[in-house]
């Protein structure tokens, strides 16, 4: 077998390896006022991780997309620079007696994520286990949700976390992947039925319900529980991903229309029923009504965006803390985009969006070139879910849409989010590899 060198990937990764220590250095000079450069061990760790991932992919002959890993690496690098700049005691763990700051812990999670990514990208030769056991995956998803419901504990009114002793995990992040796998497998199997059968009510052609029922039932259960857990961002994310996959599978606009109508209806019902939904909307419409209470976070975020302006305050020179307190609560998770826009300005934020756009573009390309319907739908679902997640949280940060607390993939601090995002990249690389290499029957040696 001919070795695929993945030259494009290497050429794109190299400047990122310079970018990260460069950012650390600026931060440190600004913060300390001396010419000390930043934490070299983090920069070296990050470089070793990315290059290692590249070499493993080359060694195992993965011929998958070469722009995805560098795009992810760039986003992760910007995130790491920002997390290193923020106060290190916001989060973090100690491992083997060494106290890891927030950035160190994030790097540790990057390592775990990249290893999972490589195992999937290299190890998943055949998508049979994903495709044929779809109801098992659905059951796993429901169990995860049930576990969160029963054993979970609340942070900020949303019950998302399960305490496993050493670490706390967010099962919702893994549920996201399981759900996309199930929907892709289900739609790939029934796609022809869904598109060919037509039931008409008046001028609307309605989906043939019996074929839809298993999927709709699962989806309704998931949505109900997620809403009960007060995790509105995730609910929105699941719904958007589902609609995207349904549209791609069937090509019928009427499904999207029905979905959007359901969304609007559901939103009004939730607005009536739940106080916290009402509060979110009120704060979104006028955060300045209660600037020291409910509107505190969005108001401070808007100020930070304003301070950043076009070119930013400079790394390490923004107003992240004031008198020992964070100016924006949860700046390391939900509001990392605001922090980046404050210190790197609109230009820096645009660069970050550019990397995200490259990722989404390549993800959809993987889907378009996929060998079979299941792989294609899976790639669409994974890409759409990461894209929507970024869209929802960046929109929330900039007061474009009501704020819902989810992470910015690859950038925000958070183990579960990083791990889940890298698993998704692993799946994309595996799909991409199989679409290029061709059949499973092809002799390997």
């Amino acid at each position: 077998m001919r070795i695929a060198w993945r030259g494009a990937e290497l050429r794109l990764l190299l400047p990122i390896l310079v970018l990260v220590p460069f950012g650390f250095a600026i931060t440190n000079i600004a913060l300390t006022g001396t010419l000390e450069v930043g934490p070299l061990h983090l920069a070296i760790g990050y470089a070793v991780m990315l290059l290692g991932a590249h070499l493993v992919l080359v060694a195992f002959g993965n011929r998958g997309d070469q722009l995805i890993l560098p795009a992810v690496g760039a986003m992760g690098g910007i995130g790491l620079i920002m997390l290193n700049r923020l106060p290190q005691d916001l989060a973090g763990t100690s491992a083997l007696g060494i106290e890891l700051g927030m950035a160190g812990t994030q790097l540790l999670w990057f390592g775990v994520g990249v290893i999972s990514m490589l195992v999937i990208a290299v190890g998943l030769r055949d998508d049979g286990i994903l495709r044929h056991y779809k109801y098992t995956w659905a059951a796993v998803g429901i169990l995860l949700l049930a576990a969160t419901f029963i054993f979970g504990y609340e942070v900020n009114g949303a019950r998302l976390w399960i305490d496993l002793g050493a670490v706390s995990v967010q099962p919702g992040e893994i549920l996201k992947i399981v759900l996309v796998v199930f929907i892709a497998a289900y739609l790939a199997e029934t796609r022809t039925l869904l598109t060919s059968a037509r039931v008409r009510i008046g001028f609307l052609s309605v989906p043939p319900l019996p074929y839809f029922l298993p999927m709709l039932a699962l989806f309704a259960v998931v949505m109900l529980i997620v809403v009960r857990l007060n995790d509105l961002g995730t609910a929105l994310l699941f719904f958007g991903t589902f609609l995207t996959m349904l549209f791609v599978a069937t090509g019928r606009r009427s499904y999207v229309l029905i979905g959007l109508i359901l969304f609007v209806v559901g939103f009004f019902v939730a607005h009536r029923l739940f106080g916290h939904v009402q509060l979110r909307v009120d704060v979104w419409l006028d955060p300045f009504a209660d600037p020291l209470g409910a509107g505190f976070q969005p108001v401070r975020a808007l100020y930070a965006l304003g301070r950043g302006g076009l070119f930013g305050e400079g790394l390490g020179q923004g107003l992240v803390t004031l008198g020992g307190n964070l100016t924006i609560p949860y700046v390391h998770t939900d509001f990392i985009f605001t922090a980046i826009a404050e210190e790197l300005g609109l230009v820096g934020a645009f660069a970050l969006l550019g990397f995200a756009a490259v990722f989404v573009f390549r993800g959809l390309r993987v889907a378009a070139l996929a060998r079979d319907d299941f792989s294609g739908l899976l790639a669409v679902g994974l890409t759409a879910s990461l894209a929507l997640q970024a869209l929802i949280i960046i929109g929330g940060n900039t007061k474009l849409i009501p704020l819902t607390g989810i992470t910015l993939p690859f950038v925000s601090y958070g183990g579960s989010s990083i791990l889940a995002s890298f698993i998704m990249v692993g799946l994309l690389l595996s799909i991409s590899h199989r679409s290029i290499v061709g059949t499973d029957a092809e002799p390997d040696a």
Partner: protein, 147 residues
Amino acid sequence: MTGDILRILLLVLQLGFVALLYLVLMRFAGSLLKDLRNAEEVQIASRSGIGRLSVLESPADEPPAGTTIALGPINSIGRNVNNTIYVEDDFVSTNHAMLTFRGRSWFVEDQGSTNGTYVNGHRIDRPVALSFGDELTIGRVRMRLDR
């Protein structure tokens, strides 16, 4: 005085950082464009048809396992050499099945074969729509419909 120098230094470094950020982004754009230009050629070279059959398993080695067969809109499959897709296998009938592309989908129909036609392991008794990735078993020959 040192404060001023530091401030100027930081400004220069910051501009350098943003410049590097955009340099990386430009490189990405370059790679994207290069790929888009190549993509057209690849498309023409390998995937001009409406679909192809990948032969996964073929004990009698006709068609040989591991090969792919480009498909036209109408394909007859059977042991008679006049079929579009000629399959040499003792368990395949003379005129075994028809594989046709109608509208936007592939369909397969059994032509009254002795041993039947299987889609993803299930025997079919009427024309069945196929998705890309579905497995078609005719006699002992296992094939997959690919894009």
